[in-house]
Subunit: 331 residues, 2 copies
DNA sequence: GCAAGTAGCGAAATCGTTTTCGGATTGTCC
DNA sequence: GGACAATCCGAAAACGATTTCGCTACTTGC
């Protein structure tokens, strides 16, 4: 129903081919007719049908990002990386699309890819299974994993330096004189978790401190996930003077729980987060955290997908981006 | 490069038409060949090309939602409505796509619509201008506005009952004995703002209280937007005993600022939010707020778009959904 | 056994672009 | 003036599906 290229052709008594060439900057069109065509296109508000354009080209110039909105953490993290991802994709002449996934249907991702709705896809850490990755590899479909290291050299991924970030936190806390430092892990066994835990343990060892199993507690990914573990720590015979939370959303819970118990942050207990999400500004004091280069991650992830698009033979890249401790008051 | 319908046809020595009909449940295919085709399609991981399918149909079965990620509020709100919107769109056999918009280019929305990438679009309150709406109306392109009432009977929209919600808050606070109640407005002049303010003023009038201009302060939409206005209220000669924040994110700032100043919530100052976002659980006490039926809004918005798709003559609907005060501790 | 109906399949048009190729008109050069 | 190049345009194939129509071969009914 919207105006098509043929409409313009009819109105100007030209052939569709000429109109197409005029619009696409071919040289074999006189400047007169080109101007006529451009004016008519503007007047009629012409926009080429994306389906009709994509079909012969075999490309869509679209990149997909799949999102499981069930998890608050995902949404917060995503809103951090999107500006960079959008900027980069626009610079590459692509559009970034967010697909909303229903929780338990990983096939949808494959369907969208195979249907050719997008040229490449960004996988966000928490939702993919190895079958998805294996299939994408078989299909030779461009994709990049974000925020999670995949131990497979055929897979490109972009991750923040979890180990170094945790070391930075620990060095700071140890430098402040803290000796009983609690550590909150996430339940899932990912390389990110392992790297963080290793950073914690190594820092303790480097300071000649023994690790205390009671100080290592588990959190969940849902809301309020920091409350229970904090209470668990507070009833210890010898409670911690500092708490290294799994990420900023957990740290928010931790701080609120501590303050509700009459403890001052950071005087009585220091608290650190991770990621540098906007949630870190939702407490007073604001959260001292390890700032991930979120926008940069968004950029790189799109860049890497784009590279695969332009050069299918490009070798996969496993990239670790530097992070930086930001002190904002809570530690 | 992925397997096409023709590939299956060649392999089985059938015509493309027969394969298509077998896959789409036509009756003029023998059950034998149908089974053959289905098996081959499964084996090859066949997925019909969306471009090739959409082109002759003139439909995409996709609905777009445009998102400006610059604003934290938008992301939080969106994560609330998405589950309902996704569920409903799947029930209608559509897919919900989120388009990331760069801040200052409203034309992108029109381009996507005119290119036929989507069948209908959901406009989220904070980013659209009247030109966009006017053009969509001219194009006869299905759309629904979410979270903002548009004073134009040709436009469908779904909004929470801002007036009633504010009345509920005020009735509760007045019932608690509060007499000096501060009100935080948003800077933009929208019907939502007006409705909230009217609810505030009407409630005061109904209680025979005069309104005090000093108690009505303005917030911004950005992060930390509640801090400054709260401080402004605290230095008043006669400070408020209750603060009605513009929405939950503002209320988070308000509570933190009050607690940092040594005031207890709600004993010294009661605080209320609006919307019922997840941020309301990030303070202690949790925020007493007016819960919008977020999932329901997501559902209705998609339903209304879908109705326009199925029946282009359907009359526009301007819907106000009921809200409910939820007491969680801060008031 | 013959007309009529039915089941199963393929041919071909269609959607709106892009892109290659060839044709026509003009101009240029010797 | 004739060969050749340059300029501008249109014809037509292609992308991969859907869908209508027609054809064949078989069944059914009398």
């Amino acid at each position: 129903m919207p105006t098509s290229l043929t409409d313009i052709a009819r109105q100007l008594e030209l052939s569709p081919s000429t109109v197409s060439k005029a619009l696409n900057g071919y040289r074999d069109v006189s400047s007169d007719t080109r101007e006529l065509v451009l004016r008519a296109a503007l007047e009629l508000g012409y926009q080429p049908s994306s389906a009709a354009r994509d079909l012969p080209r075999g490309r869509t110039d679209r990149i997909g990002l799949f999102l499981n909105t069930a998890l608050e953490y995902v949404v917060d993290y995503l809103s951090g990386i999107i500006p960079g991802a959008v900027r980069c994709s626009q610079a590459c002449g692509k559009r970034l699309l967010i697909y909303t996934l229903t929780d338990n249907d990983p096939d949808q991702l494959l369907q969208v890819c195979r249907a050719g709705e997008i040229d490449g896809v960004i996988l966000f850490s928490t939702h993919y299974d190895s079958h998805t990755i294996e299939t994408l590899l078989e299909d030779n479909f461009p994709f990049v994993v974000m925020g999670r290291h995949i131990p497979d050299e055929r897979v490109s991924c972009v991750v923040p330096d979890y180990y170094d970030g945790t070391r930075q936190i620990m060095d700071h806390l140890l430098g402040q004189g803290h000796r009983r430092i609690a550590f909150m892990t996430r339940p899932e066994l990912t390389t990110a978790n392992e790297a963080r835990l290793q950073g914690y343990l190594d820092a303790l060892a480097a300071a000649d401190l023994a690790s205390d199993g009671q100080l290592i507690v588990e959190t969940r990914l849902e809301a309020d996930s920091g409350v229970a573990p904090t209470r668990q720590l507070l009833v210890l015979a010898s409670p911690p003077t500092a708490i290294v939370a799994a990420h900023d959303l957990v740290a928010v819970d931790v701080i609120n729980t501590l303050q509700a118990a009459g403890l001052r942050v950071p005087q009585d207990v220091a608290v650190t987060g991770f990621d540098g999400l906007r949630a870190g500004f939702r407490t007073l004091p604001h959260i001292s955290t390890v700032q991930q280069p979120l926008e940069r991650i968004g950029e790189r992830v799109v860049e890497l997908v784009n590279r695969q698009l332009n050069d299918p033979a490009a070798l996969p890249v496993q990239e670790t981006l530097p992070v930086q401790l930001v002190l904002r008051g809570s530690a």
